[in-house]
Each structure stands twice: as C-alpha cells, then as structure tokens.
C-alpha cells in the first residue's frame, strides 16, 4: 500500500482543510461536502461549500453524527449526476452507505470524489448535547489515542472505540476506508499510526491517484505503519463484536425477549427516518395497508383478551430488518435517533450480519456488485424449499 504523507500543524483537521483548499484552487473539484459546526448551538451540519474561505469552519471529523453523510449526498445527487465535481469527506460507514444508495439509484457517484477518513467512532448524540464541551474534550482524547506521542495520557487508556463512543462504534470493524475496511472511497485519510505528527493520504483507485497527481502530491510513501495499526485495532474490534453479539443473543432471542426489548418503542419511526438505507418514498408501514377498521382491532383484542396500542410494533421492526438488513452498514444512526434508547443499532446489525453472511455480501464494498435480491443462481438455497 502506497500513499502520501502530510504534516500536521495545529490539529488533525488542519492539513485536511489545506488539502481541500488546494483541491478547490486547482479545480480538482468545484465544491466540498463536509460537516461544519452550526453557528449557534453545538451540533454539526453537512454543508456544501463552494467558497474556499468558508472551509475554515469545517470539521472533517466531528464528534457526533446527527445526519448520516450518505443521506446528505443522496439529497444532492438523487436526481442524477451533478454537473460539477464534489468532494465529499465522510466516515467509512457513510461512504459504504453512499455506495449502497448508488445501487438503489438514490446517489449518483459519477462526479463525486469520495474521501474517507479513519473513524475513532462518534459519541452518542444525547451525551454530546448534554455536555458539549466535556464531550468534545473526551472526543479529542480518543482521537489523540491514534497518535501516542501527542496523547496526554497513556496510550492504552484511551483506545479508539472505547466505552464513551456509541455502542455501534465500539464494535465496528470497518472503520477504515480502504480494502481493509471493505470500503470503496476514492481517497482515504489515515490518522492511525502517525507517529511523527503526520496524516496519510491513501489513494484507493485511479480517480484518487489522478487527483493527487493534479495537486502535485506524490503518493509513493509506504503506508505500513498505518496498515499495521489499523489491522491491530481491527482484530480487537472483531473480538469485541463477537463477545457483544454473544451477550445480545440472550437479550433478544425468542418472542418474549423481543417483545420486552421493543416494549418501550413509541412507534415514532425515527430509526427509519434516520436510516440512510431506508429511502422509500412510500413506506409500507405508513401506507393505507396499515390503516385498519376498528373491527379488526376489536377482533384481535377479543381473541387475545387485550391489545396494546399503537399495535404492530414488532411487525415494523422485523419488516424493516427484511427490507434493509442486506444493506445495513451498521452506522448506528437509528440508535442515535431513538428517543426511547432502545438498542436498535445493535439488534439490527446482529441480524444484518447473519443476512449478509447468507449471501456472502458486504454492503458498500463494491459499487459494481449487484444487490443480493436482484440476482439469483438457478441452483441454490434448496434447504428452504419443501
């Protein structure tokens, strides 16, 4: 693996912003889609920047994910390819979701330059909004965990994906935007294993290489340090994921457990609205099909003795699992959006891992690979036939 090395001046964001400014100058791209701290309040929003001077306020690695990046990219490109080139700086799960959405024709990647960045995880939105400053400090500590020399504490103290990040992030093993993380960005920004206060620019394909060329950035340096650290961390995460899912099984398996887990659900459908993969204009669960005459409910109440309202909560969640689990990138946006703090992301990605394993499919890995339900083999799955 080869790439370029950029010097860090003040913080990790600096060389990235400089790089983007240079890209705009050299007309490598005409606009940049990047998170920016909102002027009033503490949250972050996606902003499409054409004026170079506004890049100063951008933060390529915000501590939270209020809107999944693929959703932002989808709003720009769902009508077709853009006439100007846009560089989108996103976390690997956002890039993978964007690739999935391109298969669903909700994103057009033709004039998009996807830049991924090593992701230390994000903090739960609720934690951050309660105490933004404290949370920001915590996040910076985690971020610095990647660069031991600059860390105020011992390295092991603040490993990436520690318990202050979201549960989905803690078990994410696809936090890098190269083949290693099954992610297909054009250029990846590495911040792991950067001992000498550097960041790494790793082109993943010809598009990435040509842009670096155009900017006179030579990408011939060895990326071994980054790769070693990324692999190390990946192993830790894989192990942790296994443990967590093993525990989760006992919590969710079986109808009584499932009903318990979802008993707090208020049917707000926020998980679906925040999900980058759920794009349908008309969701089955909002359709006329779910509106039933009172007799139907009275009949059910009669045979059961009683019927909880709003009804069909489990149908919504299980139905959504069958609809989106093959493309679920495990970004955790659903859990951030849940006002009742249900472990939706963990349950969904547990189910998704099995669904994806069934078809040997990794969402977001390859834009050319068709969705599993759009293809078939004549000779397969005989075990489900009777």
């Amino acid at each position: 693996m080869k790439g370029a090395i950029l010097k860090v001046t003040e913080n990790v964001a600096n060389p990235i912003i400089n790089f983007l400014e240079k890209g705009l100058d050299k007309k490598c791209f005409d606009a940049v889609l990047i998170p920016v701290k909102v002027p009033v309040g503490n949250s972050f929003a996606w902003v499409l920047i054409q004026n170079k001077s506004l890049l100063e306020d951008a933060n390529p690695l915000p501590p939270v994910m209020p809107v999944q990046g693929a959703k932002a990219l989808s709003s720009i490109t769902r009508m077709g390819k853009t006439n100007k080139k846009i560089a989108a700086i996103m976390r690997p799960c956002e890039v993978r979701a964007a690739v999935e959405l391109s298969k669903l024709e909700q994103v057009n990647l033709e004039n998009i330059f996807l830049i991924s960045i090593d992701c230390p995880g994000v903090l739960p939105l609720k934690d951050y909004l309660e105490r933004p400053e404290e949370a920001m400090d915590k996040f910076n500590e985690i971020l610095l965990g990647a660069c031991p020399e600059r860390s105020r504490r011992a390295q092991n103290d603040i490993e990436w994906g520690n318990e202050s990040t979201r549960p989905a992030c803690q078990v994410c093993d696809k936090f890098v935007g190269t083949d290693l993380g099954f992610c297909q960005s054009d250029l990846h920004i590495g911040i792991l294993g950067t001992k000498d206060k550097n960041i790494f620019l790793i082109p993943n394909n010809e598009k990435g290489k040509s842009i670096l060329n155009k900017m006179d950035i030579e990408a011939e340096k060895s990326m071994d340090n980054w790769e070693k650290k990324a692999k190390e961390l990946m192993e830790v995460r894989k192990k942790k994921k296994k443990e967590v899912q093993e525990r989760l099984k006992f919590k969710v398996m079986g109808i009584d457990n499932l009903l318990d887990v979802f008993s707090n659900c208020i049917n707000c459908h926020n998980c679906r609205s925040a999900c980058p993969i759920c794009y349908c204009r008309q969701c089955y669960f909002e359709s006329e099909k779910m509106k039933l005459p009172s007799d139907d409910y009275l009949m059910r109440a009669k045979s059961k003795g009683a019927l909880r309202f709003l009804p069909d909560t489990l149908l919504f969640h299980l139905g959504r699992m069958t609809h989106m689990s093959l493309s679920c990138v495990g970004c955790g946006a659903c859990e951030d959006a849940c006002p009742m703090s249900i472990d939706v992301a963990q349950i969904f990605s547990f189910v998704a891992d099995n669904s994806q394993g069934l078809f040997n499919y990794i969402p977001g890995k390859n834009a050319e690979e068709p969705l599993s339900l759009r293809i078939y083999k004549e000779d397969e799955f005989h075990e489900v036939e009777t």
Partner: protein
C-alpha cells in the same frame, strides 16, 4: 370430546401454477384438511417478506408461499427471486429465535393437483404437531 386443534394456514399461491393446482385438486375432489386460507398473487416473487411476517405475527399457525417450479415461472425468473427473499426472511426469523418451522416455501406446478393435496396435508400435520402459534396470545403484538 375435546375439539382437535385445527390449524389456520395462510397460503400465498401464484396465479399461474399453484393456484391452478389448488383448483385442479378441488375439481378432482382430492381430500385434504380445510386449513388453508388462500391468497392469490400474480407471482411468488410478489410476496414481500413483510406480508409473510404480518400473517405470522397476527397469529397464523403456518404460512405457505407456493409457486411454479424453478425454471417454469410464468415470468421466467420470479420464483428464483422469491426463493432468495424467503431465504432472507427465514434467516431473520431464525436469528431472532422465532419459529421458522411455521413458514414454508413449496413449488407446485399447475398440473400437480395430487402434489398440492400432499403439501397441504403434510404441512397441516406438521403445524398440528407444533400446536397453536404463540403470537395469538401476545397482547403487545
């Protein structure tokens, strides 16, 4: 005398093969349990997993999805897609520890009246052994 448990099974039958087979079984006066409530669909691939789930969670003791044999689909490849969707549904159901035995996918051609009789009889027997779908008594469903 205690009433014997009579399972209620929802059957999604494809218009071109299995529905015709059901018709044939009827006109041939083949005997089978009256357990199947038939929903005719144009193709087995029309059956979104959510429809099966809805029947299952509302307390159907069994759900049968049936269509043309692979290679015989009226729309050439619908049943291959149906098989993938069904496999996905089974995986979700099994992952969550629910009773996937109550869901069945079968291929029954238009001329196979006796096979229709056999599938319905055997599936009904299987469901009888499993007993009533516990979902029927869950008040929060």
């Amino acid at each position: 005398m205690k009433d014997e448990f009579a399972p209620k099974i929802v059957g999604f039958l494809c218009n071109w093969c299995t529905y015709a087979a059901a018709d044939l079984a009827g006109t041939s006066k083949l005997k089978m349990p009256p357990s199947l409530a038939v929903i005719r669909v144009m193709c087995s691939s029309r059956v979104d997993p959510v429809l099966v789930l809805r029947a299952f969670l509302r307390g159907a003791d069994g759900v049968l999805v049936a269509g043309c044999h692979p290679g015989d689909c009226h729309y050439e490849k619908g049943n291959y897609y149906a098989r993938r969707r069904f496999a996905l549904l089974k995986s979700v159901i099994e992952t969550l520890g629910l009773d996937s035995e109550r869901l069945q996918l079968s291929w029954i051609g238009a001329s196979e009246g006796p096979r229709f009789q056999q599938v319905v009889t055997e599936f009904t027997d299987k469901i009888k052994k499993l007993g009533q779908n516990p979902m029927q008594k869950k008040t929060s469903l």
